[in-house]
């Protein structure tokens, strides 16, 4: 059976990928992803993992080579972060449009300028529209488990879509905690070898990486869209089977915590949900009816699940480590659309925080719930607040006190 070890999130991903037995790993190192590919290259060097490890000259090449490997029918892994992910962007749609079930770990990190190596989610959220399944881990254990489950999901014949497993930079990638590492025989039982007809094969030749003009392009894109919409049911099935083998049950595309009778609900994603859970408990102990909704999978968009979970709430906040400049947080836009389509008219507001590695504190989350409370009392709350800068934070913010002088 498995063993417990004290690992960082990066190391946990490397262990999960090792257990998944990828045949090709193609990656270029970038902080805070580097440890993942260092550990994997060591495993390949020692013979603990039988795989071809490709040292490439850039992230663009890393994903291009992964696509090539996947098109020969090999189980393929890559990993990146931030500018590296943006550099890969051109290849992302080749992988998804070509239906190559590559698994990529992305260490969520700020995008420049200003240059910043710390955590936020602007990198992956900027690429929501590139056809990849996107999932966000809560802790190192979930990161390890997702690294195994992602291959099952990606390679499912009804899915055949690449998966991006996102870990918050540093808060997950570089934080050590106890992780249960499953045994290889468990992983083998859960994840059989990858077989596909979507590959170069002399016996069964087929056209790959082709052109589709105006007459046919739309059918490919429609199919891609329909297949992604059907993914949540596959996720449920994969998680049920994972629980049977590994004894850990995951909750599907979203996770709700104390939402059933909640008046005020905070929606967020990634590791900050751990702190939000503590804050929900603290406020519940004071008699406040608050709840937490953690988005695990953001593509496909869990629209129905979110709408159902917050249908009874009186105010909803979306907290995210990203902004679409000149608009609002992208998760907020997505959530609002889901609620509007479902005919749910609960008031919503958006909190932007944690950019460039800034810590979001328990008190900040308590303030978010206070703002939601004010909405229910008919007070005006900004649609979008920046934690530590404006809205409820304006009076204590150095930026507000000094204006542009704080720059």
């Amino acid at each position: 059976m498995g063993e417990k070890r004290f690992l960082s999130g990066d190391e946990a991903v490397a262990e999960g990928v090792r257990l998944a037995r990828p045949q090709v790993i193609s990656a270029y190192p970038i902080t805070p992803q580097t440890v993942v590919v260092e550990r994997l290259s060591e495993m390949v060097e020692r013979g603990d993992l039988v795989a071809k490890y490709l040292h490439v000259e850039s992230e663009h090449s890393a994903l291009a080579a992964a696509i090539g490997a996947s098109s020969t029918g090999a189980r393929t892994f890559t990993a990146t972060s931030s500018q590296g992910l943006l550099y890969m962007a051109e290849c992302l749609t080749y992988a998804s449009g070509g239906r190559y079930p590559i698994v990529m770990m992305n260490a969520n990190r700020a995008t420049c300028l200003p240059w910043n190596i710390y955590g936020d989610q602007r990198d992956s959220l900027a690429l929501l529209d590139h056809g990849w399944i996107q999932v966000y881990a809560l802790d190192a254990q979930e990161a390890l488990d997702l690294s195994i489950m992602a291959f099952r999901l990606a390679e499912d014949p009804a899915v055949m879509t690449p998966v991006m497993v996102n870990l918050d930079g540093f808060a997950l990638t570089h934080t050590y905690e106890t992780v249960d590492i499953p045994a290889q025989e468990q992983a083998d039982r859960f994840l059989p070898p990858y077989t596909t007809s979507n590959k170069f094969d002399f016996e069964h030749p087929l056209n790959m990486g082709f052109t589709a003009g105006p007459a046919y392009n739309k059918y490919f894109k429609y199919r891609e869209h329909q297949d992604l919409l059907a993914v949540p049911a596959v996720i449920d099935q994969v998680e049920r089977e994972f629980a049977e083998v590994f004894g850990r049950q995951y909750p599907g595309v979203i996770e709700t915590y104390r939402c059933a009778d909640a008046e005020l609900i905070l929606i967020t994603l990634g590791s900050i949900a751990g702190l939000a859970r503590d804050v929900v408990d603290r406020l519940r102990a004071q008699g406040q009816r608050v709840g937490l909704l953690r988005i695990r999978y953001l593509r496909p968009m869990p629209a129905d699940q979110i709408a159902e979970a917050v249908a009874g709430a009186r105010a909803v906040a979306v907290l995210e480590k990203d902004v679409s400049f000149g608009a609002e947080g992208s998760v907020f836009t997505n959530v609002n659309s889901a609620l509007q389509q479902a005919g749910i008219t609960v008031p919503t507001c958006n909190f932007i925080g944690g950019l460039g590695g800034d810590d979001i504190k328990a008190d900040d989350l308590a303030t978010v719930f206070e703002e939601l409370g004010r909405i229910t009392e008919g007070e005006d709350v900004p649609a979008v607040s920046w934690i530590g800068i404006d809205g409820a934070w304006a009076e204590t913010s150095p930026y507000a006190q000094e204006g542009d002088g704080a720059r």
Partner: protein
């Protein structure tokens, strides 16, 4: 929850100390820990901090510490009485690697460099400081600290570091006892007694 703030200089092993403590605490079923450094480009010799959070429940808060129950200094040039007082919570204790006595009731110093110099031939104070933490924490045993050393360090370093741990326990414990700090902290019981 018990929270430990480590002050060190790049290359001294403060983060290794933070990880050793977290790994040691997690040896017991039902114990949880997080260990992480102040993140950033590492520079040898530059002041840095590391953090260990210990709890009998799963830990959700991954944010850095401004104050702590125990503040550890790997280097006495980083110690200042005022800054230390501002970082220590009520009932908290500072542990300073130093041959000096700071004559402050909440500051316990001992010569961790001396111990590691004798037994390892180099001034690497983190294992000795782990011994000090075993003394302060009621719900952490010497055996669990030894298991962490075996889990995190290469085999050739095991016996020497376990000897450092034992020596540190012997020398630090009388000081902690006379200050009433031995076994003062327990994450299971929710903090300092």
């Amino acid at each position: 929850m018990i929270e430990v703030l480590w002050h060190g200089r790049g290359g001294q092993g403060a983060f290794t100390g933070a990880r050793l403590l977290g790994a040691a605490y997690c040896q017991r079923e039902g114990h949880h820990a997080l260990a992480f450094p102040t993140f950033g480009p590492e520079r040898r010799g530059a002041p840095m901090r590391a953090f260990t959070k210990l709890s009998a429940e799963k830990i959700g808060d991954r944010s850095a510490l401004e104050t702590a129950d125990i503040v550890v200094y790997l280097d006495d040039t980083l110690f200042s009485a005022d800054a230390c007082a501002a970082q220590l919570r009520d009932g908290g204790v500072a542990v300073v690697n130093s041959p000096r006595d700071f004559a402050l009731p909440q500051v316990l110093s001992f010569d961790a460099n001396g111990i590691s110099g004798e037994l390892l031939g180099r001034a690497i104070p983190n294992t000795a400081l782990l011994g000090a933490l075993v003394t302060l924490l009621a719900d952490l045993s010497q055996g669990e600290a030894e298991q962490a050393i075996r889990a995190l360090m290469p085999p050739r370093l095991h016996e020497k570091n376990i000897a450092v741990l034992e020596a540190a326990l012997e020398r630090f414990e009388p000081k902690a006892r006379s200050a009433g700090a031995a076994g003062r902290f327990s994450a299971e019981k929710g903090g300092a007694r």
